[in-house]
Structure formats: structure tokens, C-alpha cells
């Protein structure tokens, strides 16, 4: 969902398709195992399901997979992307499951959803740092005293009624 660089030489789970950290470095697996979420126990079964679909994809697209690797890992990045597109397409079987997995993977990167945000920003959480999430005040709250260009930048609609409403 959010591709990143390999964590170490020989990292096969991450394809290494993009520079910088991805969803895994951002804590996607930690998030999926968060007790509050209550789906950690299902992850081995979900991995099995993804690998079954990867096998089917390889068979129908003429891909030869290394038998020493789990089928999804053995797919090239472009094939992983195409398969993810298929799994997540409206009407696809088990789609709601894959959408949930995609949502949580992205939430780990975009929101550090397994961490308290103020602490995550201060610790340079990979996803929040990547998107440039602003830093809070010392008390862990955000305030923006400078927030406005401070001038009229358009004319209001001529039929605006008192209070600023449309007519």
C-alpha cells in the first residue's frame, strides 16, 4: 500500500520499490496486532488467503514463482501491485477484508494509529515525518497562532444574505 525501501540486504517481504520508509517501517504490523483492534489472531489466516490468490495470479499470468518464498513475496512488485488492484476492486470476493488491511496499512503510515500522535511526531515516526505532519506545542496540543493570509482574497457572492448564508 505504501511501498518502502528494504530494511536489510535480503529483505524479501519488502520489494524495495520506493525510496524511504513504507507502511511496514511505519508500524503496519504492530497496528494490525494492536489488542484494541482484535484482529491479530486472524493474521496468519489472512496471509494464507493472500498467498492463495498470489498463486492463482501467478498461474493465470504465466509467472514462475520461487518455491522457497511465500507466493505473494515471490511476485515482482508490479505483479503485487496488479494483484492488490484486483483484490481491492469493487465486487471482488473477500474485498472487505482486503480493504480493512489496506486501511490499516495506510493508517499506520499516515496517522501512526498505533501510537499517540504527539509522541510519534517527536520520535520522528517514519510516516508522519514523510508527510511533514506539524509538531505540537510542549503540552502535546497543536495551536497555530499564525493561520491566515489576513486579507480578503475574493469577492463574496452578491446574493449572500445577512450572516453570510447563500440566498
Amino acid at each position: 500500500m505504501v511501498p518502502g525501501e528494504k530494511r536489510y540486504g535480503g529483505d524479501v517481504a519488502i520489494a524495495g520499490a520506493a525510496p524511504g520508509p513504507g507502511a511496514v517501517q511505519a508500524g503496519a504490523v504492530e497496528l494490525l496486532n494492536l489488542p484494541d483492534l482484535g484482529i491479530g489472531i486472524l493474521l496468519p489466516e489472512l496471509a494464507l488467503l493472500v498467498n492463495t490468490r498470489a498463486l492463482a495470479y501467478a498461474a493465470t499470468h504465466g509467472r514462475v514463482l520461487l518455491p522457497t518464498q511465500p507466493p505473494f513475496v515471490a511476485l515482482r512488485f508490479t505483479d503485487r501491485t496488479a494483484l492488490a488492484g484486483e483484490l481491492l476492486t469493487p465486487g471482488a470476493p473477500d474485498r472487505q477484508l482486503y480493504v480493512l488491511l489496506a486501511l490499516f496499512a495506510a493508517a499506520a503510515f499516515d496517522t501512526a494509529a498505533h501510537l499517540h500522535t504527539a509522541a510519534a511526531v517527536r520520535q520522528r515516526h517514519p510516516g508522519l515525518a514523510w508527510i511533514g505532519f506539524p509538531v505540537p506545542d510542549a503540552d502535546g496540543l497543536w495551536r497555530f497562532p499564525d493561520y491566515s493570509y489576513g486579507r480578503r482574497l475574493a469577492s463574496e457572492h452578491p446574493l449572500t444574505t445577512p450572516g453570510g448564508h447563500p440566498a
Binding site: M1, Y149, H157
Partner: protein, 531 residues
């Protein structure tokens, strides 16, 4: 098992639709109990945090077939998590005919007829006009882009204490500074001051005829575990002379569907004609250099914009396409708005729908996140949402914290799609002009269309075949059972709905008081705006 309790008036739900009648009835002398499914939190609890278990305690993401809806789940309802844009619906909305070919709103309801009720709500919240120097950077950027494209643009009226607001942009979490005017700050404390009792973590399950003489309805409820809303921890029932149903447009019709056999049937419009307010969100990936060169903006030395996460979430909007002379299904407002990071998933980085919202290009787009600008078009949809058979309990099936599956299905008609296409074209005409930004709507692949404004699933009207409520908000065939939440609003509004929901609830109060008095309660109408 506990004995059945009794009260004069039972209110189900504590958002705009529940809090307002609760106040007027309590202030008028009735005994009022409010059942609220969610927890009772206040400002110190509303943290700035995106961790699961923070805002997810008070916001639900409800997934249907073809649509996902965001809704509040706490005392104060969606008023706690809304973005406080407080707008009167344009006059043409009340004349809408939809694809049914007849007026959908009650003939007694026009903008002029609703204006006095809007006045009351604006006084009670209260609503403030933002001056241009109170419009945050994203709203300023949108306004400048509108002006350059030959459009007008207005600061958005908001239910915010502007002197107290820190422009933190955490409104979905509830307001930590008590600057946003939710029901927690006006109608609900005024109601409890007059003796109303709020019961959080109480989920209504059925409405049936009462067995005690003089009482009209018996409402059964389940008490929910504060740490896991999936777990019931108790049950009970309350009989009341009047029931005000305001559980929200995703819950009110489901509760009535489940109650239909007990009530001897409900109108066939219950659970039909749902509208997502025609919501359509687009993300603009803005070119900072063009902001400087085309619009002449600079917020700090060398920084033209980079203001996506700064400010109140809603700053400015264009009314240009709210022209009553144009055809239905082509009118809409276009509003600058900010959504928290959980929705970043939906931004499209390419034009290949199957993979546009994830992958390498999307990650590159994320690196420009401070330069994003999002806009919400509120269009005229076709009331095409329909609820399936109700789940065994509650209004949806809670699968995880904050994540619920609904039986609601939404298949946009050609009319709705026409409105969305017109809105997309307008967003691009304004924001893509001379390469200022690249604009694409949120992907519909992961979650269908997305709405934060559920409406119309138990709507009022004059035609019994296509409206569940009469023009006073009473459920047809069920005296003393009123519906006052977003489900009563007949159509999409082309603006954010909260002020209209609140105004309709205010308008319904004299009738609810009258009905309650007829049931033998010593109650009178006429309380002033809460202080």
C-alpha cells in the same frame, strides 16, 4: 430483571435532533430521559491524537454497500465531531422535486418559513461569521483561486467561539478548548439544568406500544460496555407518553424497521430515500510555485502555502453554482475543507482507478501533503439509498473499534452522477487553471462514495407514499412518536446540514409539546434560547 421505568418524554439520541427537543420539553416542565448510545466525554477527554482508541471512541465509520458514512457516537452526537460549518440551505432546495416529479418538502416549509427557526439556533449555538483575517490558509488559497478563475468565494459561518479557537484542526476529535459550539455547551446543559437525565452507553433496540395506561410507547434498550461497544452489560425498558427519535439517519430507520412488527407496521418510506447530501470530496495537489506566481500568496518568507493541516477545517466556499435558475441535479456548493489523515488513503495519484490510491506514485504524492488542498462539493443527489433488513441489535454490526457494517446500499443514479461530474469539472476549472494544482476526486474503490452528512432515511413530506413523517415530524400513524434528526430532512441541502437539522428540530418542538400535553403532561412551550 429491572422493573420498567416511566417518564413523560423519552428522547433517543443526544445530537442536534435530540438535545433541542430535550431542552424545550424539560424547560417546559416535562420529565425527560435521554438515551445515548455513545459515551459521555467532555473537553479534557478530547485529545489531539490519531491513535486508535482516541477519536475512535466518539466517531463511527459505517460501511454500507457502495457508500461509507462518518457519524458521531457520543453524548452530543455529531455536534461533538462536526466541523461547525453552519449554513442555511438555499431557497431552491425546499422546492426540489427529485426524480419523483413532485415537491419533496412539505408545502409549509420554505426558506422564509424556516428562517425564524434558523435565527433561534444561530442565537443559541451561537454562530459566528468569519472575517477574512480569520479564514485559515487553505480557505484563503481556495478564495484566491476562485477569484482568479472569475468566481466569488465566501468565508463560511461557523459555530465556533473565534476568540477561543486555536486553529488546531482537530475538530473530529471533539474540541479540547470548548471553542466549537457542540450540544455539550448549550442545549444539553440547559436541558439537564431543567431536570433532564442523560444516560450514556444506552442503545435503544425497539419501540413498542406501552402496557401502562396513559403511556404510549415502551422503549427497550441495551447498556453497552464502555471499553468495547460490542459487549452488552445490561438491558432495560422505559415507558413514555412521548418518544422523540433522534438516533441519526443511520440508526433511526433501523430502529423503526426492527420495531415495525411491534408497532403494527411503519410507513414504507422508513429506511428508504437515504441521501448522503451529495457529498463529493476532491484532493488538489497544489504547486507551491504557482501559488506564489499566479496568486501572489506567501504565508512566510519562501513559503507560499504548505498550510493543509493548519486552521479550522472549513474556511471558505463558493456559492456560484447555487443558481436557482439552473436545472435540478446540476447545483452545488464547493467548500474548502480538511479531513484528518485516516482519509489520506482515498487521494488518487494517477488516473488508473484500480491502483490510483496506493503504490509508488501515491507515496510521492504523500511527500507533498502540506501542499494538499481538499474541497467538498455538496450536490443534489437522488435519495437513492436503501436499508436492508435490520441487524439483530443496534443500527449496524460493529466489527472493530469505530468500524461498523450497515445494511445501507447506495447506487448513485444518472442524476447524482451528473451532479458529481459537474462538481468535478468546476473544481478543476478553479484549481487546475494554469497548472495551479492537479485535482482528482477521492477514489471510490476502497469505500464507495463517502458522506459525512447522512440524511432523509425517515423523511418528512406531504405525500404519505414517499415520506415517513408528516410536516410536524410525527411518524405517520403513530401519535406521539416524533423524528427530529437528519433522517427527517427530505433531500440533500447543497450545504452542510447541521444548522438545518437543528432548525427543523426547533420547529418541531411546539408540536411535540402540544402532543405531550394532550397525553396528560403539564408542559408548556416557550423557553428562550439556552444560556
Amino acid at each position: 430483571m429491572s422493573a420498567t421505568e416511566r417518564t413523560d418524554v423519552l428522547v433517543i439520541g443526544s445530537g442536534f435532533g435530540g438535545a433541542i427537543p430535550a431542552y424545550h420539553l424539560a424547560a417546559g416542565g416535562a420529565e425527560v430521559v435521554i438515551l445515548e448510545r455513545g459515551p459521555h466525554l467532555t473537553a479534557p477527554d478530547f485529545t489531539h491524537d490519531l491513535r486508535l482508541g482516541s477519536y475512535t471512541r466518539i466517531v463511527d465509520l459505517v460501511q454500507g454497500d457502495g457508500i461509507t458514512v462518518v457519524a458521531g457516537n457520543c453524548v452530543g452526537g455529531s455536534s461533538v465531531v462536526y466541523f461547525a460549518a453552519s449554513l442555511r440551505a438555499p431557497g431552491f432546495v425546499f422546492d426540489r422535486r427529485g426524480s419523483l416529479g413532485h415537491r419533496l418538502w412539505p408545502s409549509t416549509l420554505t426558506r422564509a418559513a424556516l428562517d425564524p427557526w434558523y435565527d433561534r439556533v444561530e442565537e443559541a449555538l451561537p454562530v459566528a461569521e468569519q472575517s477574512w483575517d480569520q479564514v485559515p490558509y487553505p480557505g484563503g488559497l481556495f478564495a484566491a483561486a476562485c477569484a482568479r478563475a472569475g468566481r466569488t468565494c465566501n468565508p463560511v459561518p461557523v459555530a465556533v467561539d473565534l476568540a477561543r479557537c486555536t486553529n488546531c484542526n482537530w475538530m473530529l476529535n471533539g474540541c479540547h478548548f470548548d471553542a466549537k459550539r457542540s450540544m455539550l455547551l448549550n442545549y444539553l446543559p440547559a436541558a439537564t439544568a431543567h431536570g433532564a437525565e442523560i444516560r450514556p452507553l444506552h442503545e435503544a433496540q425497539t419501540i413498542a406500544p406501552a402496557t401502562t395506561p396513559g403511556y404510549r410507547y415502551r422503549v427497550s434498550y441495551t447498556q453497552l460496555d464502555a471499553g468495547d461497544y460490542r459487549l452488552p452489560v445490561g438491558v432495560g425498558a422505559i415507558e413514555a407518553k412521548t418518544v422523540v427519535l433522534a438516533a441519526g439517519a443511520l440508526a433511526t430507520p433501523v430502529l423503526l424497521q426492527r420495531s415495525a412488527p411491534l408497532l403494527g407496521g411503519v410507513p414504507q418510506a422508513v429506511g428508504r430515500y437515504f441521501s448522503g447530501n451529495g457529498d463529493r470530496v476532491s484532493i488538489a495537489d497544489v504547486d507551491e510555485g504557482k501559488v506564489r506566481d499566479l496568486l501572489g500568496l506567501e504565508r512566510a518568507p519562501g513559503i507560499p502555502y504548505q498550510g493543509f493541516p493548519i486552521g479550522k477545517p472549513i474556511g471558505s466556499m463558493s456559492y456560484d453554482r447555487l443558481d436557482p435558475a439552473t436545472a435540478e441535479f446540476t447545483r452545488f456548493s464547493l467548500q474548502q475543507i480538511y479531513f484528518p489523515g485516516i482519509t489520506d488513503l482515498l487521494a488518487q495519484a494517477t488516473d488508473t482507478p484500480a491502483t490510483s490510491w496506493f503504490g509508488v506514485r501515491k507515496k510521492e504524492m504523500r511527500a507533498r501533503w502540506p501542499s494538499w488542498l481538499s474541497v467538498l462539493a455538496m450536490t443534489e443527489d437522488d435519495n437513492e439509498g436503501v436499508f436492508g433488513p435490520p441487524p439483530p441489535t443496534g443500527s449496524s454490526t460493529r466489527v472493530a473499534t469505530s468500524l461498523c457494517l450497515s445494511t445501507l446500499s447506495y447506487r448513485p443514479t444518472a442524476n447524482t452522477l451528473r451532479g458529481w461530474a459537474a462538481a468535478d469539472a468546476e473544481a478543476r476549472a478553479v484549481l487546475e487553471r494554469d497548472g495551479l494544482a492537479r485535482v482528482r476526486p477521492w477514489s471510490e474503490n476502497p469505500a464507495g462514495s463517502v458522506s459525512a452528512h447522512p440524511l432523509a432515511s425517515c423523511r418528512m413530506g406531504d405525500d404519505p407514499a414517499t415520506s415517513a413523517l408528516d410536516e410536524r415530524g410525527e411518524l405517520r400513524g403513530h401519535p406521539g412518536l416524533f423524528v427530529t434528526d437528519g433522517s427527517a430532512v427530505p433531500t440533500s441541502l447543497c450545504v452542510n446540514p447541521s444548522l438545518t437539522i437543528a432548525a427543523l428540530a426547533e420547529r418541531a418542538c411546539p408540536g411535540i409539546v402540544e402532543s405531550t400535553a394532550e397525553a396528560g403532561v403539564r408542559v408548556r412551550y416557550g423557553a428562550p434560547a439556552p444560556r
